[in-house]
């Protein structure tokens, strides 16, 4: 399954006071590609993801899914945080998408259990989310998206609120599950290292209005792990991305010494 975005624009508000959140965004993903999207906060990357998910209509432009779709959902989203329902236990949260599609209880539990094992939460199946840590809750959200078996996975800064160590572990787990299922993933993040470590390509965006600055190929072999982060190549890419972002970030936090104009 592939995704193609053509000239996507998004305006909030109307008339002269309208603000442009996204400006002519065009890109496509390959089959089974892991695409990282990085940009400063407020660059519209979450908005873009919601448009791709069909949760927001674009003001202009089209989102096209092409390829075989054997009756499974087009996309499933992993939300930033708080997307896990506190009133359902762990396994009902994971099985939520299947339940919405009326998969019989026994079958959806069996499938959910399989993914709970993969994220190391099998023994927590009947616990309530509030008894679990933030990292565990994000694992639930990831398992919920994978078990739904979508054509394309959309992830909106899923590790944004985790501490550095937990983040490393979840990145690793995500790569493991992904390499097993090879779904097309669009992964939004504001962490440069995370974008490079996970992605086949990194799409770098700038803000107000949100635009694509550059799409960078990441050629590290898979399976990848933390070790690639100390290679020359990694550092070069990181500096390259930072150089694009620095001007942007400087502009958004204000001051004279960061901007591209100096």
């Amino acid at each position: 399954m592939k995704l193609e975005c053509r000239n996507i624009c998004k305006l909030y508000g109307e008339g002269t006071t309208a603000s442009r959140a996204l400006d002519t965004i065009s890109f496509e993903t390959g089959e089974g590609e892991f695409l990282s999207v990085i940009g400063p906060s407020g660059c519209g990357k979450s908005t873009l993801l919601k448009i791709i998910a069909g949760l927001l209509p674009p003001t202009e432009g089209t989102v096209t899914y092409t390829g075989d779709n054997p009756g499974t959902p087009l996309n499933s989203m992993v939300f930033q945080e708080h997307g896990v329902f506190p009133w359902m236990n762990v396994i009902d949260n994971v099985a939520f998408g299947l339940e919405m599609r009326h998969v019989p209880r026994k079958e959806r539990y069996a499938q959910s259990m399989e993914f709970l094992k993969k994220v190391g939460l099998a023994s927590y199946a009947t616990r309530n989310p509030h008894e679990l840590s933030v990292g565990m809750r994000q694992r639930i959200a990831i398992a919920r998206a994978f078990v739904n078996n979508p054509a394309i996975l959309l992830m909106d800064e899923p590790f944004g609120s985790l501490d550095a160590q937990t983040r490393l572990i979840l990145q690793d787990e995500l790569l493991n599950i992904w390499s097993e299922h090879r779904k097309t993933v669009i992964f939004v993040t504001h962490d440069i290292d995370e974008a490079i470590l996970l992605g086949d390509r990194v799409m770098v965006m700038s803000g107000s209005p949100g635009k694509i600055q550059e799409i960078i190929d990441i050629d590290f072999q898979r399976p990848r792990d933390l070790r690639i982060e100390s290679t020359r190549e990694f550092i070069d890419i990181r500096i390259r991305i930072w150089n694009i972002l620095r001007a942007e970030v400087g502009r958004s936090i204000g001051g004279d010494n960061h901007g591209a104009g100096n």
Binding site: P73, H82, G83, E99, M100, N128, H130
Partner: protein
């Protein structure tokens, strides 16, 4: 996990204050600091209560009042929850009905009791109707707030995972608004006690309110206190039972049910 000492603390301390006040009252009364005409000592009130229990007077009044409270409570609460959920979920209904609710809600329910007697006649129906109306608005307003406080991300997850309108109602809207529905129920039970006693003052031969009123007319001061004690006990009982039910049904409450929206 509740430790042994914790359990002792949670049950003993609250009881301590209650019994402490009664003991202090008893001592002050016996030492002659309190006029027994107005403030009979607790032991005499309890003795009077026991004799009323033995000749059946207490059960008779209590059962009549409890029937009115529960009948009115059910008749008011169930439509209140349903309409509240509906008004919370549908903006159009809310815009249409909100002014009506806002105008009717602040009217003291006892103020419309004479009207209810004209409509339903002097009998059980008008008394139960007064209780029901008192419960209805409290539950309605809180259920509506419960729906409107649901974090948007839950709706986005439900939409993304393909929930139908019915699934949205039963799996998201209803459970997510339960904590505030419970708040409404708690307030409604308290109000139903107030309304039932007020109504029984003026238009009933039996019931705790009637019992208190009759004791005032015949100046049976201890009986009057028995009535007040019964009200206090009922209120306490309602609170404890509801709290237990709440802990069972919404154990997640207080654990990011209404996370801050970005």
């Amino acid at each position: 996990m509740v430790q042994g000492t914790d359990r002792a603390r949670y049950t003993v301390l609250p009881l301590l204050s209650l019994t402490g006040i009664l003991v202090l009252w008893e001592i002050c009364g016996r030492m002659g600091f309190l006029n027994p005409l107005f403030f009979p000592v607790p032991s005499r009130i309890i003795a009077s209560g026991i004799s009323m229990l033995l000749d059946g007077e207490m059960q008779e009044n209590l059962s009549v009042t409890l029937f009115r409270v529960f009948a009115g409570f059910l008749l008011g609460t169930i439509p209140g929850i349903l309409l509240g959920l509906f008004m919370g979920a549908s903006e159009r209904t809310r815009l249409l009905l909100d002014p009506v609710v806002a105008a009717l809600y602040p009217i003291p329910k006892l103020a419309i009791f004479p009207l209810l007697m004209i409509i339903f006649g002097i009998g059980e129906t008008s008394r139960i109707a007064a209780v029901a109306i008192g419960c209805f608005f409290l539950v309605l307003i809180n259920s509506m707030a419960g729906v409107r406080n649901i974090s948007r991300v839950y709706f986005e997850v439900a939409e993304n995972y393909g929930a139908s309108q019915w699934q949205l109602l039963t799996r998201i809207i209803l459970p997510a608004s339960l904590p505030l529905i419970f708040t409404g129920i708690r307030l409604a039970l308290g109000t139903s006690l107030i309304v039932v006693v007020g109504v029984e003052f003026v238009s009933a031969n039996y019931g705790i309110g009637a019992m208190i009123w009759n004791s005032w007319e015949t100046f049976e001061i201890e009986k009057l206190y028995v009535g007040i004690f019964l009200c206090a006990l009922l209120g306490l009982l309602f609170t404890v039972v509801l709290k237990k039910a709440e802990e069972r049904i919404t154990p997640w409450f207080g654990h990011q049910v209404f996370p801050d929206q970005e």
